[in-house]
Amino acid sequence: MSKRIIEQNAETLIFELSDQNRRSSSLAPDIDINDACNNLPEHLQRKKKLQLPQVGELQVVRHYTRLSQKNFSIDTHFYPLGSCTMKYNPRVCNTQAQLAGFTSRHPMAHSSMSQGVMSCMFDLQNMLMEATGMKQVSLTPMAGAQGEFAGIAMIRAYHDHNKELQPDKEPERSEIIVPDAAHGTNPATAVMSGYKVKEIPTNDQGDIDIDALEKMIGPQTAGIMLTNPSTLGVFERKIKLIADMIHKAGGLLYYDGANLNAILGKVKPGDMGFDVIHMNLHKTFSTPHGGGGPGSGPIGVSERLQPFVPVPIVGRNEQGYYWITEKQLPLSIGRLSAWMGNVGILLRAYIYALLLGRNGMVRVADFATLNANYLLKRLMEADFEMAFPERRASNEFILTLRKEAKEYGTTAMDFAKRLLDYGYHAPTTYFPLLVPECFLIEPTETESRDDLDAFVETLIKIRDEAEQSPNLLKDAPFELPVRRLDDVKAARELDLNFYYSKC
C-alpha cells in the first residue's frame, strides 16, 4: 500500500507567478509605448494600472500544461455524459481546420479569395440537409441554444407573417409546448422569443401524454419543441400523430437535435414531420467540446420556413459560390453572429462528415445504439434499476439509484463522485428532472466493449462500497486534485475574480 505523505498543493494561480517588473517575452513587438500614446488624446488614455500576469514563457507553458492534466477528457477518460455525446474527436479535423488558408481568412475577404472555404460550407449545408431531410440549412447558429433561438424566432416570424397577410383568420399564437423532460434551453429559448411555455407531462413509458397534449393544443399554440429520441433515452413512437395534431392546430414542430446521434441515417427529422430543427455539431458531428464550447448549432427548415432562415448562407451559381443575405431573403429573421457563425467548427464537422460518408453516418447510429443497449442490459442484469426497463435505449438511457439512496443513504451524486475516483467521468446526474436520483448514461459509438464492461464492474463495486462503507461514496472523490468542493460557499461568498478583493 502506498502512503500519501505529501499533501498535493493547490495549483498556484498565474497571477501569483507574476512580477510587474518582468520583461521576458519575444512575443510582442519592441516599441516605446509612450511614443505611440502621443497619438491618443490624453484624457481617453488608460489611467488604471493593468494587472495582467507578467510571467516567463516557460512558466506559462508549465502552468497551463499542468492545469490541463487536471481535466478528465475524452482523450483520457471514458466520459458517458448523457445528452452530450462525448465521442472521439478525430484529430485530423483539428489539424486540417487549422491550415493557414482557413485560419487566416478575414470574414470580409473578397469572395474571389474565399471560394475554398465557401465550397466547404456549401457542401456541408447540403450534407446536413440530406441527412436530416430538411429543405434548407443555415449554418450560422453558434450552439444548440442559438439554433433553438433561431428556430423559435422563425416559427414566430412565420406566424407573424401569416397574421400580416391574413389578420382576421390567424389567431394570436402565444404558446410553445415543451415536454417536462426537455432540456432547460428549450423553455428558456421560447421565452426569449416572447412565448409562454406550456409543460406537457410524460407517461410512465417515457412517451408524451397524448390526452394531455390534446387538451393543451389550441389556436394559441405556436408550436411544440421535441427531442426524439427524447432526453429520457427513448424514441417517441407517436411522433407522426403528434405532428398531425400540432399541424392541424396551425402550430409548427421544432426538433431539438441534441440526440441526432441516435438516429443518423435511420430516420430523418423531416420525415417525422418537423418543420425546423437544430443540430449540435459538437455532439453528432464530433467537433470538440473544448471544456464548454465552442459548439455549432446549424438549423434546418422545411419548405414553409425557408423564407425566414437566418443569414448568411452560401449559394452557388455559374460564377462560383456567393453569399445569400437579407437582400435575397428579405423575410429572414436576420443575423445571429457578426459573420456566419463558428466557421472553424463547421469545417471540423465538414471534415468529419467527409471521413464518415453516408455509410459512416449510419454506422454512428448503429453502434451508439448497440453500446447503449448493451450497457443497459448489462446493468439490468447486475440489478440496477432502469427508468424504462421495457424500452429500447436510444443512444442513451436512464438509471435510477433511488433504491440505493434509500437503503444506503448514498445519492446519485455520491455515486458520481466515486466514479471519478475510479477514472470514469460521471454520467449526467439529476437530469431529466423527473426521474429521481438518476444517471443519464450515453456511452457513444466510439467506446469499446471492454471499456463498457469495466464500467459495469466499477458500478457494481461502488454499490458494494455503498452497502459496506457508504462514506467512501459520501466523502468521494479521494483520488482527484481536490476533494468534494463546497458549492454552497462558492455561491454565498462569491469569489469570481482574483483581483476583486484586491483592487
Binding site: L13, S25, L27, A28, A36, C37, R46, L50, L52, P53, Q54, E57, V60, V61, T65, Q69, S73, I74, L81, Q96, L99, H106, P107, H110, M142, A143, G144, Q146, E148, H183, A188, G194, G265, K266, V267, H289, G292, G293, E326, I333, L336, S337, G341, N342, G344, I345, G357, R358, L370, R392, K417, L420, E445, R449, D486, A490, L496, N497, F498, Y499
Partner: protein, 478 residues
Amino acid sequence: MPYIPHTPNEVEEMLRVIGAESIDDLFDEIPQELRIDLEKSTGLNPIPLGKSEMAVQRQLSEKAMLDGTPLCFAGGGAYEHHIPAALWELATRGEFYSAYTPYQAEASQGTLQVIYEFQSMIANLTAMDVSNASLYDGASGLAEAVLMAVRANRKAKSKRILMPESVSPVYRQVVETIVKNQGITLELIAIDQTTGTINREHAQQQLHNDAAFAALVIPQPNYFGSLEEVHQLTDWAYKQGALVIAQVNPTALALLAAPGNWGENGADIAVGEAQPLGIPLSSGGPYIGFIACKQKLVRQLPGRIVGRTVDLDDKPGFTLTLQAREQHIRRSKATSNICTNQGLLATAVTLYLSFLGTDGLQKVAASCVANTQKLIALLEKSPEIKFPFGKTVFHEFVVQLDVSVDSVLERLAEEDIVGGINLSQQQVASQSVDANKNQLLICVTETKTEEELRFFSETLIAICSEISSLSNSEGELS
C-alpha cells in the same frame, strides 16, 4: 469502420446479451414507415461514401490553398494579430480540447481554474468587478448586454436602448434579431459627420421622445476607428438614469481608459469581442464574446460563471457557481438560454494574456497605433485620398476615395490583398454612411512591416488612379 472499435465477434456477443438478432432490431420502436431506405434515392445517396484520412487531408489542403494567405488590411470587428506559437499547441491539448463543460468540478479543475483566471483578466482589463466565462461572440454578446441592462435597470422600467450608429452595423443587426421579440427597441443615434463619433446633440434629442431609456451603448474605439468621448457620454447617461454598456476592443484597453473608469461612475456593463486576443481570423468564428459588470449586477449576468471555493479538506478549488441564473436550473426564467459557450476560446484568451502580460499587450496596442499612423502618413501623400473622420484613431480609419470602393477591393484582391471593408456596401448600410461616398474602412495592426505598409499604400494609390483614369477615358470615349 473508422472510429468504431467493435469486432464482429464482439457485436455478436453484445447482441446476444441484449437479446436481439441484429443491430437493426434495436431500432424496432421506430415506426417502419419513418425509417430511411438506404437503397432509395430519398436515402442518403447524395452524401458521398466515407473517405480515407489521406484523401480528406488532400481535399482540404487544396481548398485551403485556394484561399491563400493574403495581406490583410480589413478589421471591422475581426483583427489579425500575432498569436504566440505556443498558444494553440497548449489550447488543443486533448485535456482541454476534448473535455465537456466542467459539470464535475473535481474532474475539471484544469478548465475551471483557467476560466477563473480568464474572468479575472477580463475584469481587470475592463476595470469591472466580475466577468462571466464567455458568450458566443461580440455581436451576440452585445445583445445579451442589452437584455441584461433592461432586466437590471428596474428604475428606468424602459425597454428602449440608445444605440449609436458608430456601433458596427452588423452588431446592431444581430442585437435587433435577438432582442426584438422581447419588445425591446433600439433607438439609433446619428454620428457627427466630421469626427465619426456619436452626435451628442442627436442623443439629447432622443430624450424628448420618451424620458426614460434603459441603457446607452458606447463603442470604444467605434466602428470607424474613432475615439468616443466616453467620459462625457457616461456621465450624461447616468444623469438620465440609464445604464452604460461599453462595447470595447480588448487590445485597445491596454492603452485606452477602461470602462470601469469612464466618467464619474464607470460603465455598468462591458462587453466585446475577445478574438483579437489570440484567436485567428478564421472567416469570423469561432470567436468569443466577453461580458463583465459591476458586482451588484452579477446575478443578472448571462452564461456560466466560475467561482473559487474550498474542498472538504479546506483546500482551494474551483466550481461553476450562481447556476440558479441558468437555463438548466431556472429554465424559462433563466437570464439567458446560453448553454454551450466558447470555453476553448476562453482558454486561448487566457493563454494569450498570460504570454503577453501587461507589458506585451501594451506593446501590441502601441504598435497598432504606430503602424496605423504610418499608413495614414503614406496615404496622405495622395490628394485623391481623404480622411472624412480625421486621424485620431486606434487602429482603424476611414478613407474616402474618388472611385468605386468595390472596384478597388476587387483589384486589390487580384494582388492578393484584402484591402479593407467597403462601408457603403455593408449588409445593412448605416444611415449615416452615404453609399455614394466611396468610404473604405482600413485596419492596421502590429503584424504589418514597413515594406508591407509601403507596398499597400502604393498599390492602393496606383489602383485608384488607374481606375479613375480608366473611367475618365471611358467618359471621353462615350
